[in-house]
Amino acid sequence: MERKWEELSPDERQEVLFERWLSPKDHEGNDLKFKSPKAEKAYKERVTRLKDAIQLKKLPDRVPVLPIVGFFYAFYAGFTPKEVMYDYEKAVSAARKYVLELEPDFHMGAIGPGPGKFFDILDYKLYAWPGHGVSPNGTYQCLEKEYMKADEYDALIQDPSNFYSNIYLPRIYGALQAFTAPSLTNVLEIFGLAFNFIPYGLPPVQAAYKALMEAGNEALKWAMAMGAFNEEIAAAGFPAAAVGMAKAPYDTLGDTLRGTRGLMVDIYRQPDKVLKALEVLTPIMINTGAGAAKGAGLPLVFIPLHKGADGFLSDEQFKTFYWPTLRKLLMGLIDEGCIPFLFVEGSYNTRLKVIRDVPKGKTLWSFDTTDMAKAKEMLGDVACIGGNVPIDLLAVGTPEQVKDYTKKLIDTCGKGGGYLMANGVALDEAKPENVKAMIDATKKYGVYK
């Protein structure tokens, strides 16, 4: 008899999620029909390859390769970033072309560009995007501001749901300025009932709800296109790497609530409130990541790390403000059977000793400019590592240079498994022949004998 999720150990949950990843379903819930027996075999080999690299139990057949792409396939297919943001078919056809022609082991779907019209409908303020604040040929750029004010920690800590819906959302979505979430905890008996609903009769509030519904329609349209692509490309033998995403609580607070500078000053002026807010954000992040991963039947949860890099915090600050809640997030995800997939931007040379405090074979760390020999030495026995193919090399170098770099990485970090080939930071503009060289060199030199 099948046991309930609650009765399974974290190890068993991880196996269940890997099993689901290995045996994908189509959108109707039936077993996915692969294009050919060859495609099915390739799909399963790819997932098994990464599973073995992550779990550190068995030597994989070779080093898996997963280019982390942003707008790369748009450029690759001859579209502008703006085009693939506003035309989902173009996004899908560009991603398809890239995956089928360059044949990476894993892909990140066609979701990278995001739904431009959805952002337009909501008048999203957190980012500039191609054709909206940056040129049609540009990429996303975060518009950092203090969307949460220095004196709003108590509001966030006491009632995060209310803070997000009634204070934060109206600030980050222009169309939701008048938005107010139902306040139904003060609904009592019968006489006063109607008063609580008065706001929903006011035209600006109604306009906000109308925008929400339009945005919902657009989100659905986009998600259908993205889901269909993942299904189609899986049937051709190419698994998606991750669907779920979470963030280190410190990054959530620093990236999109208080801003880099705001948070850096807060750790001096109001450290206790910062710590409390981080604790409040932690379970929210665990649920966000685990929920998406379990829903999609795909164990990896993508976690880009930003503000804990070398230089961004002292050792002491990292150990006080960054790591404790990041570790709680990792443990919370691992408990749910997920594999945290950390995309570590910048360099982490001074953090390696701290982050090795994770259970063996449950995490994947893709690095950017971290010293890879040192990372292998410090983490090799507890976690799968990867990354580091420099984006500047992919942008302006030669295929020969890329091949040499890739081979050197395999020689340095590939030993004994536990290694994933990936680029350092998200790939936008790069020479196609260089990305191909990275993929091909991994297949050639990354085989374990």
Binding site: A128, V134, S135, N137, G138, T139, Q141, L143, T260, R261, M264, V265, I267, Y268, R269, G311, F312, L313, S314, Q317, P390, I391, D392, L393, A395, V396, G397, G424, V425, D428, E429, A430
Partner: protein, 210 residues
């Protein structure tokens, strides 16, 4: 107690620094002398950052304290501060890129190391760099960029500087996010700096050599 403000600022003791400033202003002290001490404190902050004793949050916080000090002192100022500077550096994040944290750190370090930084901000059009170089006669230009699209913006900016006939009058350094020796070659810059201290060393080398 002139030493106190220098140390309070260097040690990032905000409350103490502000109290000293208020006391000294109340005692009728010349505002410029107070600012001079604050500057000395910031110099120590810069040195500690260069020695990896301080990190980015410490720099940012020191800037906040200095801002608060300046706000207290400014209303009492009767004459403008004059400063002797080593030389001018025209500086900014290149076109299409709006990242400012790295740029601000380098500008801060150049400033506390005695350079006059002409900070053009972010997403700076090519022509603005050219115009500013002409206008100020600055011998050093710093181009900052975080995104890969900055590679081409830097290249275009440097080409425009060459086309304006300014190439032999200025030295150009680049830095930020994914900038490397490869990108230096690609853009035609004179040098690339890995971090803020590298920028200071480069600027000192070039301006000192003139």
């Amino acid at each position: 107690m002139a030493g106190n403000l220098v140390n309070a600022l260097a040690d990032l003791k905000e409350d103490e620094a502000l109290k000293i400033v208020k006391d000294r202003l109340n005692a009728g002290e010349e505002p410029l002398k107070i600012l001079e001490d604050a500057r000395k404190g910031m110099e120590i902050v810069g040195k500690r950052f260069a020695d990896s004793e301080y990190f980015i949050p410490d720099l940012v916080y020191s800037g906040e304290i200095l801002k608060a000090v300046t706000e207290l002192v400014k209303p009492k100022m009767t004459k403008a501060a004059e400063s002797k500077k080593l030389g001018k550096v025209v500086f900014g994040t290149v076109a299409g890129d709006i990242h400012d944290i790295g740029k601000d750190i380098v500008a801060f370090m150049l400033d506390v190391n005695g350079f006059e930084v002409i900070d053009l901000g972010v997403d700076v059009p090519v022509q603005k760099f050219v115009d500013k170089i002409k206008e100020t006669g600055a011998p050093v230009v710093g181009l900052s960029g975080f995104l890969t699209l900055a590679f081409d913006s830097m290249k275009q900016t440097i080409e425009a500087i060459k086309d304006a006939g300014l190439k032999n009058k200025v030295k150009i350094m680049i830095g930020g996010g994914q900038i490397s020796e490869e990108i230096r070659k690609y853009t035609g810059a004179d040098a690339y700096g890995k971090d803020a201290m590298a920028a200071v060393t480069l600027a000192k080398g070039w301006i000192g050599g003139k």
